[in-house]
């Protein structure tokens, strides 16, 4: 009988346990990134931009070169790297507070210049590491430590749909929203992340994947309840799908 490997750790995964809370989806997203890097054979020329927040420690798990960024500035740093070393594969990994609040200017302008970079945007509708404050993507009526009676549009505005907003611009090559919560959504997550890297390898330009994610700790839920909440509350407001794809025409 011949042995057949049906699953193994990605080569670019450092093979250590993560520090993430039970039910957090960062680990799944990291792994999908490692798989894409392995499949494209780009480990030794990839440079990641580590964010501020829980996921700064992505560099403890992913075996590629990393540069740390201040909160929100990752797209500018990625731009600086890619412009001077266009043969490198450059990606940023950013949360919703990082990308859609303090770093809104940087992401909009990197997208508008069509920088040939890959952005993995993790949207869990809350500030995780600082302890569960309101994010720009926090849903209306969602309770956070700074919206204790629920987010009120009159006080705090509405959740921002980043993909829809960036898709209004001419330059971006590929924008898709996927989910990392339910197993049924994982093939789409995996394909989207790989495509976002593949696009850069092929010089197609700015690619962003928004990944809806759970934060059971700061949502105050058990992991399974968090998955269900994402499916029933986040997806209706943040619909999954492609918003822009040069390959397949405008989505």
């Amino acid at each position: 009988m011949t042995e057949k490997t049906i699953y193994k750790r990605p080569k670019s995964w450092k093979g250590v346990h993560t520090h993430y809370c039970p039910g957090c989806t960062h680990g799944i997203i990291h792994k999908m990134i490692c798989q894409a890097i392995d499949e494209l054979g780009i480990q030794e020329k990839t440079v990641g931009i580590a964010p501020v927040g829980c996921a700064v420690l992505i560099y403890n798990y992913t075996d590629v070169d990393f540069v740390e960024a201040a909160h929100g500035r990752a797209p500018a740093i990625a731009t600086g790297i890619k412009r001077v070393r266009p043969d490198r594969i450059v990606f940023s990994y950013q949360g919703d507070g990082d990308l859609a609040s303090i770093g809104m200017a940087e992401i909009v302008h990197a997208a508008n210049r069509g920088e040939n970079i890959t952005v993995i945007f993790v949207n869990n509708a809350i500030y995780g590491m600082t302890g569960g404050q309101m994010a720009p993507t926090t849903l209306l009526e969602q309770k956070t430590t700074t919206t204790q009676s629920g987010r009120d549009a009159h006080e705090a505005g509405y959740p921002i749909r980043v993909c829809e907003m960036l898709a209004t611009m001419e330059a971006p090559a590929y924008i898709e929203r996927v989910s990392a919560a339910s197993y049924k959504h994982l093939p789409a997550l995996r394909n989207a992340i790989k495509k976002a890297f593949q696009n850069q390898v092929e010089g197609k330009g700015f690619s962003l994947v928004e990944v809806l994610s759970t934060c059971p700790t700061n949502w105050g839920m058990r992991p399974l309840d968090a998955v269900n909440w994402l499916d029933t509350h986040m997806i209706p407001f943040f619909p999954l799908g492609k918003f822009k794809d040069f390959d397949g025409g405008e989505a």
Binding site: V67, A70, R73, G80, R83, V84, R85, H109
Partner: protein, 354 residues
């Protein structure tokens, strides 16, 4: 190379190109706009890249990115823009990145005005951003000296893997005079393969270009390393000019354009037989303490003069160990102390010396 009539900012830009700078990220602000304008045309000619960022925040972080992969890179701005860049400067100091930043200073605070000033001395020499670090700060006294120091700025940045700031007042940026731009040495003082991102294929292992150390032991060790590096810089990299101070009873202390004016004052008063000299820090951080300490025993008084309300005074007083009285004359808002004003002040002080 022969002398060419050039505008200050353009000469500074060309000097940077000659010093091997191939990359520039910037954002428009008066009075330094000719630097990015010149770079936008010039850098593509040398196979480099110019990019106009969406803000100084972004420009300084693009600078960080380019430096993190080991390339020779610079930006320039003016006072309010430098404040915005201070965030990235702190990170770059922590991440030990070699970058050069030129501040063509304008008058502040706030929007202030667009006329020349030296009001960012404190900001520059006290580290600019949050955290425990120091910048190497060059404060050239003329356009020719600025141009000459650009090579040194890049070399120091690489030698110590520390941000270097060049502060020029708006006079140096906007003046038009004949300058000789030196050819670059072509020397590099760092091997990016050893530490920079983007070299995993050549190095065989990954790196993290970081300033985050969550364990106190690790962060203290990192900060000790930065401090030890700074001690080496303090020992080796001060630069100061003393002019006719050997027998001077009254010494003027000044930097930048004010020092250029003060030199004329010294010459004028010397013709009248007054024993007056000039001490001029060229590197203001680290401050040339030893040069002040070793001023001639004939020196009975120091007149510090600046285009601000006396930001260098503290360093001058500490430099002479508070043993020599120091007085101050300054102008602000875009004015520069004139020859006449400094001369009048010198005569008054000199008469009191007896």
């Amino acid at each position: 190379m022969e002398k060419t009539l050039m505008k200050g900012t353009e000469a500074i830009a060309e000097a940077a190109v000659q010093a091997g700078c191939k990359y520039f990220f910037g954002y428009p602000i008066t009075p330094q706009n000719e630097i990015p304008e010149y770079m936008s045309k010039r850098l593509p000619e040398v196979g480099g890249v110019y990019l106009q960022a969406e803000s100084e925040l972004a420009a300084s972080n693009m600078l960080l990115g380019a430096a993190a992969v080991g390339e020779r890179v610079m930006t320039s701005s003016s006072s309010p823009g430098i404040s915005l860049m201070s965030e990235a400067v702190s990170y770059m100091a922590g991440q030990e990145l070699p970058v050069v930043i030129v501040n063509v200073m304008r008058a502040g605070p706030g929007l202030g005005g667009i006329l020349p000033s030296q009001a960012d001395y404190n900001q520059a020499t006290c580290g600019i951003g949050h955290g425990d670090f120091n910048l190497i700060v060059l404060a050239p006294g003329s356009l020719q000296e600025t141009v000459n120091l650009m090579q040194k700025a890049f070399d120091l940045a690489e030698k110590y893997r520390n941000p270097v700031l060049v502060i020029c007042d708006g006079v140096i940026g906007q003046i038009m005079e004949a300058v000789e731009i030196p050819n670059g040495t072509g020397a590099r003082y760092t091997n990016p393969v050893e530490w920079a991102a983007g070299y995993m294929d050549k190095r065989g292992s990954s790196v993290i270009v970081r300033s985050l150390y969550l364990d106190a032991e690790d962060l203290e060790a990192h900060n000790r390393k930065l401090e030890a590096k700074w001690r080496t810089i303090v020992e080796n990299e001060t630069m100061c000019e003393k002019y006719r101070t050997e027998d001077a009873k009254l010494v003027i202390s000044a930097f930048g354009t004010v020092a250029r004016i003060a030199r004329s004052v010294v010459n004028n008063l010397r013709e009248e037989g007054m024993q007056v000299g000039l001490i001029r820090p060229i590197v203001v951080s680290p401050f040339p303490v030893a040069d002040f300490e070793s001023l001639s025993p004939t020196c009975k008084h120091i007149l510090d003069t600046e285009m601000n309300w006396g930001q260098m005074l503290r360093d001058v007083k500490a430099g002479v160990r508070y043993n020599i009285p120091v007085s101050f004359y300054g102008r602000s808002g875009g004015f520069c102390p004139s020859e006449q004003e400094i001369e009048d002040e010198c005569r008054r002080l000199y008469a009191e010396l007896g």
